[in-house]
């Protein structure tokens, strides 16, 4: 797997590159800012770009802007945005245009390289990745009449994994159940929540996140 890493803090960037290299991932280029990142993506055509959300010049949301540009201009390149913000708004904004091959992960997870590698693989497989902390914050959101109360524990578990961007097969593998059972759970969940027919696997992530937010 060929990866480009973009982070303006050298210490962090080098740490990430070292961990990825140790995990057998081919880091083909490093970038300090969005412009350099775009150049590398154009020239190396990587499988995934690993992008810090805050980069020069404003240190705000350059990463998200760069990610959306990459997804729009290089459909074969996936993007994983690393962020220090537990903000569903950012994650939703990131995936709203091109929900496939894109991910939003909290930066703290970088030190658990297995999680990062797993996310990169899922992105290469065309999945969406939303950090579990964000999903659990949304699922745990206080509601006046909680529609989630109508779900069984297993159904709620399935809903959470869908919101994290997992495919039915990935959910089945995680919960040690068959894919068919997962499908049944998903249909149930969508019916109970009044979400109608479940859309394709990529669009359903956004649908679920939006539902959880209201």
């Amino acid at each position: 797997m060929r990866v480009v890493v973009a982070d303006d803090v050298m210490l962090t960037r080098e740490g990430i590159v070292r961990l990825l290299t140790d995990a057998g991932i081919d880091v083909v280029a490093e970038a300090e800012d969005a412009d350099e990142l775009m150049r590398h993506v154009r020239s190396t055509n990587p499988d995934v770009a690993l992008v810090d959300i805050r980069m020069p010049p404003t240190h705000t949301d350059e990463g998200i802007v760069a990610a959306r540009t990459i997804r729009a201009e290089h459909p074969e390149t996936g993007v994983l945005v690393l962020s220090q913000y537990v903000e569903p708004s950012y994650a939703m904004r990131l995936i709203e245009d091109h929900p496939e091959r894109i991910g939003y992960l909290l930066k703290d997870r970088v030190f658990d390289i297995a999680v990062v590698v797993d996310a990169l693989r899922r992105i290469v497989d065309g999945e969406t990745v939303v950090d579990p902390t964000i999903v659990s914050r949304l699922v745990g959101r206080r509601r006046r009449e909680d529609p989630l109360a109508a779900l069984t524990d297993r159904e709620r578990e399935v809903l959470g994994l869908i919101a994290e961007g997992m495919s039915n097969r990935a959910v089945a593998a995680r919960l040690h159940i068959t894919e068919r059972t997962v499908e049944a759970h998903v249909t149930q969940v969508f019916q109970k929540l009044g979400l109608g027919e479940s859309p394709d696997q990529h669009r359903r992530v956004l649908a679920v996140l939006e539902f959880l937010r209201t």
């Binding site: 803090v9 210490l11 962090t12 740490g15 070292r18 961990l19 805050r54 240190h59 705000t60 949301d61 220090q84 913000y85 537990v86 903000e87 569903p88 708004s89 950012y90 904004r93 909290l106 930066k107 703290d108 970088v110 030190f111 658990d112 390289i113 914050r137 949304l138 959101r141 206080r142 509601r143 006046r144 937010r213």
Partner: protein, 595 residues
């Protein structure tokens, strides 16, 4: 333009206005001179003077007396005293040619009449140029007046010293007497007489031109003020030119000759109208003063800032009139609503009047050039109103300053918090991340060495680091919610609701952003509102943000117990951006300016 109608003279207090005895005495003498002149014209001067003709006598006396009496009226009024004295003098000079033609009169009197006569046209032109205040507006006008008087002085002196009327072949009104004669030079005397009348004609044309320019280029106010002298200016100038041209044809100035008589009657009419215009100037000033006093009285007990300015502007008919109040403390000028303004300066067509009370500067008024002596026309009511409004402006200026400094403090605080948040992310967080990599490497090494104890304590270290990172993230978010600055109020409040301990329903229709301090105030209202609601065991809260013209209306409500906190922090923050927080039961409501 130095001195261009700039009356920066202190305005003295109105009291202690004693009656000056000079004007009535001078006027009485002038009237007597006029009446004696009439007697001379009807008697010994029947053939030598214009009023010798029965028809012209009445016109001459009416014209002269109109100048003298108008002069008295002006003299009595402080703002037009100068022009009053000038008009009385002009009235006296008006009768000089009659004394010159006093057949058999005292030689000294006749000679005085002779030398005074050439001053008539210059003094009339001076009156026109100085109308309506008596002050000359520009350097050009002052130069013109000096030149006209200078010329007249040269001719007068020359004629007095060198003209022996006896040898003047064209002499008519006085062919015998000149007590000032030094030596007789008929040729020089003739030249001087010719030059004098052409000089008068030329000066009259220049004054008409200058008057026309003032009317054409001046402000509306100025034009209105100058209009009354339009007819006198044209008539007097016509008479001067008429006389000069007629005398080229008929060098012998015979008052009984119809051509000369017609010119003289035009002059009579012009002088009479000049007198009327002078009286009108006084009446107009009085009307202005009354209008100002009345409008100011009608402002009521608690006029809004700036009412005095608009009242004054309306009263004097100058929409661009501005009052700048002087604040002695900071040494600056402010407008009535307390905002800083530049010191008013006189410009072409606009004058500045300093208003002083008890030797203290109160305000500067910039107004159209034609308004005469604005400061002097203000009565006690206006002065009190001005002082009042100055005090109000001072308080408002303090308020403006306070508001600005409050906003600056909030902005500085926000900037500092934002810097702190960035430092935490770029500093402590990055180091913790680096530390966690190292621990992970050590863990891998320990596992490879099968060192179970080291591995387990390293796993504990990883847990601690993870906890520290999470806490750091929350801390940074608490210090400064980055999403508020980057994504705006909507996402930031949604984020608050995500992690709130009670359900928060949001009803917003937000489009567009507000300045950061305004968004910060709205965010703080919701954040503190949620915290306070949870403390009062509310089970649900609601947030409404509505877009209004130039502001956002933020409402927060909950079903908790009665609110005890005054929400001072929120009120301060909302106040600092110029908004207002209202507490009604459990409802918080704020109007926050967003421009």
């Amino acid at each position: 333009m130095p001195g261009e109608g700039c009356h920066n003279a202190p305005v003295a207090s109105v009291s202690n206005q004693r009656l000056d005895p000079i004007p009535p005495v001078a006027t009485a003498i002038a009237v007597a001179i006029g009446l004696v002149a009439l007697a001379i014209a009807r008697g010994p001067g029947r053939f030598t003077t214009y009023p010798g003709r029965s028809g012209a006598a009445a016109f001459t006396v009416v014209a002269g007396l109109s100048l003298i009496l108008a002069g008295l009226v002006c003299w009595r009024s402080r703002s037009t005293a100068r022009i009053g004295a000038l008009a009385v003098s002009a009235g006296i000079v008006w009768f000089a040619p009659i004394y010159d033609g006093w057949e058999g009169g005292p030689t000294l009197v006749r000679s005085l009449g002779l030398v005074a006569s050439p001053v008539l046209v210059p003094i009339l032109l001076h009156l026109i140029l100085a109308y309506p205040t008596g002050r000359l507006r520009s350097r050009v006008h002052r130069g013109l007046v000096v030149a006209v008087y200078g010329g007249a002085a040269i001719f007068t002196l020359g004629l007095a010293l060198f003209r022996d009327p006896f040898f003047d072949q064209y002499c008519w009104s006085n062919c015998t007497v000149n007590v000032f004669l030094l030596f007789s030079s008929p040729v020089l005397a003739r030249r001087l007489t010719d030059l004098d009348r052409w000089f008068d004609a030329a000066a009259a044309v220049v004054v008409v031109t200058s008057y026309a320019a003032r009317i054409a280029l001046g402000s509306n106010v100025e034009r209105r003020a100058l209009l009354p002298v339009a007819a006198p200016t044209v008539l007097i100038a016509t008479a001067a030119v008429w006389r000069a041209t007629t005398m080229t044809r008929l060098p012998l100035e015979d008052p009984l000759e119809p051509t000369f008589l017609r010119g003289f009657l035009v002059a009579c009419f012009g002088v009479f109208l000049l007198g009327a215009a002078l009286v009108w100037a006084v009446v107009r000033a009085w009307l202005e003063r009354r209008a100002v006093a009345r409008t100011v009285t009608s402002l009521g007990d608690a006029p809004l800032p700036g009412s005095l300015e608009s009242a004054l502007a309306m009263a004097v008919g100058d929409a661009d009139l501005r009052i700048a109040y002087w604040l002695p403390g900071p040494g600056r000028y402010v407008s009535a609503d307390g905002t800083l303004v530049d010191e008013p300066v006189a410009q072409p067509g606009r004058s500045v009047t300093a208003l002083v009370r008890d030797d203290r500067r109160v305000a500067m008024v910039s107004h159209a050039g034609g308004i005469s002596e604005l400061g002097r026309e203000m009565g006690a009511a206006v002065r009190l109103g001005l002082e009042n409004e100055r005090l109000q402006a001072e308080v408002l200026a303090h308020l403006v300053e306070l508001r600005a400094s409050r906003a600056r403090i909030v902005e500085a605080g926000d900037a500092e918090r934002r810097r702190l948040e960035r430092d935490l992310h770029d500093g402590a967080q990055q180091r913790l991340l680096a530390l966690s990599y190292d621990i992970r490497l050590a863990l891998a090494a320990a596992e490879a060495d099968r060192d179970g104890r080291a591995a387990s304590s390293l796993r504990g270290a990883i847990d601690h680091t993870q906890g520290a990172l999470a806490e750091l993230r929350e801390l940074a978010h608490g210090i400064y919610p980055a999403i508020l600055a980057e994504a705006g109020l909507g996402p930031a409040i949604a984020s608050l609701a995500d992690s709130a301990p009670i359900p928060v329903e949001i009803d917003t229709s937000l489009e567009g952003r507000c300045p950061a301090p305004a968004e910060g105030a709205a965010y703080l209202l919701v954040a503190d509102g949620i915290e306070d609601a949870a403390r009062r065991s509310a089970s649900i809260a609601s947030v409404g943000i509505a877009r209004e013209v130039g502001s956002r209306s933020v409402t927060f409500d909950d079903d908790g117990s009665q609110r005890r906190s005054e929400m001072i922090g929120v009120a301060d923050r909302v106040g600092a951006v110029g908004g207002r927080l209202l507490l009604e039961g459990t409802t918080l409501r704020a109007e926050i300016p967003c421009e």
